[in-house]
């Protein structure tokens, strides 16, 4: 990130510039929707491509004593498989392909965003909201497919006096509808806040450095190194949180218990 800020020069650093979406290949709009291939699309394609390459290489030569790549692939597999078994149970393994793809996509998007000059796809609310809405619709679909109309019992808490019931059902329904929002805002907020902070500290380093106050620039530089480490942690952690919450919601849809 330091190199990135440096390239843009001293005082006029715009920490939000990194989030700008611009088209790479202009395409005509279809029914009012701009279908241009943007930098956002490019980094999504890269994330999908690299995640696929990673898994293909990991499973190319399977040995009983795994090599480095195979070990990493197996670790990713068993990490998600254990998460599903713990949170949903063995029935949940039916949904393993979806949850694994979701995790790998978010993880690769977050990690690619840590590269200098890259674009962080998950720092845009609409992207994370699309992911969360997909999860939400799918899980609601699973719930209705499994329990039919009985899935609505999820909104009726037990052991509540009758006169309070309408109020609580309303609150339950709203609480159910907040899920895609909280899921997406959490990922988006973490990614955007972290990257903005890195950019601002990078701006301090370059600003102080070019003003001839190089010894003073050491402090924000040290902070930035620490923040980069923290950001790497958050990038992994947020992919994990998104996935585990998907598992928890899936468990609720399958077993219908709070």
């Amino acid at each position: 990130m330091a190199g990135k800020s440096g390239a843009e020069g001293g005082a006029g650093i715009d920490p939000m510039h990194q989030f700008e979406v611009h088209p790479i290949i202009e395409l005509p709009s279809i029914a009012g929707i701009d279908t241009s291939f943007t930098n956002s699309s490019l980094w999504m394609v890269l994330a999908v491509g690299l995640a696929s390459l990673f898994m293909i290489f990991a499973s190319r030569r399977t040995a009983i004593v795994p090599g480095r790549m195979q070990l990493m692939g197996e670790m990713a597999y068993s990490f998600i498989a254990n998460m599903i078994k713990e949170n949903v149970g063995t029935e949940g393994m039916k949904y393993f392909p979806f949850i694994f793809s979701l995790f790998m996509f978010i993880l690769f998007c977050n990690m690619l965003g840590m590269l200098p000059y890259s674009f962080t796809v998950t720092s845009h609310l609409i992207v994370t909201f699309a992911l969360a809405a997909t999860v939400f619709l799918l899980i609601t679909g699973v719930g209705f497919a499994r329990h039919g109309i009985g899935f609505l019992k999820l909104f009726v808490p037990s052991g509540i006096p009758v006169f309070l019931l309408p109020l609580l059902v309303l609150i339950e329904v709203i609480s159910y509808l907040t899920r895609p929002v909280s899921l997406s805002v959490r990922l988006f907020g973490n990614m955007m806040a972290g990257h903005t902070m890195l950019k601002i500290f990078g701006g301090f380093v370059v600003g102080l450095g070019s003003a001839g106050l190089v010894p003073l620039a050491i402090a924000p530089f040290a902070l930035m190194v620490a923040f980069t480490g923290l950001e790497l942690l958050i990038a992994g952690l947020q992919a994990y949180v998104f996935t585990i919450l998907t598992c928890i919601y899936l468990n609720e849809a399958i077993h219908m218990d709070h």
Partner: protein, 117 residues
């Protein structure tokens, strides 16, 4: 059947002991992860409450727009949204607590087993 159950029970206890002992042998890693978890929890609760208010307000605003009854439903659902957000947060904390208790129980089992040896 009974024998199989007891075998499964023993396997479960073994699994718990193993995970607890793994945890005890990586104290440094755990400390960092615990801090990250607290940060994550703080974020989760904040977002949960804000999302409740936001979604409630939005649904109310939309109902008002359709029915032309501004601002009754927006105010009503704003309050209900706050309730929903609060309920989600309470549930999140209860869930975290349950997990922590399970972990503590597992630790106790493994400590007791260590004493026996």
């Amino acid at each position: 059947m009974a024998r199989q159950d007891s075998k499964r029970d023993r396997l479960d206890t073994l699994e718990k002991k193993l995970s607890a002992s793994r945890q005890r042998h990586q104290p440094d890693d755990n400390q960092g992860r615990a801090n990250a978890n607290m940060l994550g929890l703080a974020w989760r609760l904040t977002v949960e409450m804000l999302a409740g208010i936001g979604v409630g307000g939005f649904i109310g605003w939309w109902i008002d727009k359709v029915l032309g009854t501004e601002p009754i439903f927006m105010l009503l659902l704003l309050v209900l949204g706050m309730g929903a957000g609060l309920m989600n947060s309470v549930r999140t904390v209860a869930e975290m607590r349950r997990k922590q208790d399970e972990l503590d129980a597992a630790r106790k089992i493994s400590a007791a087993a260590d004493d026996e040896e």
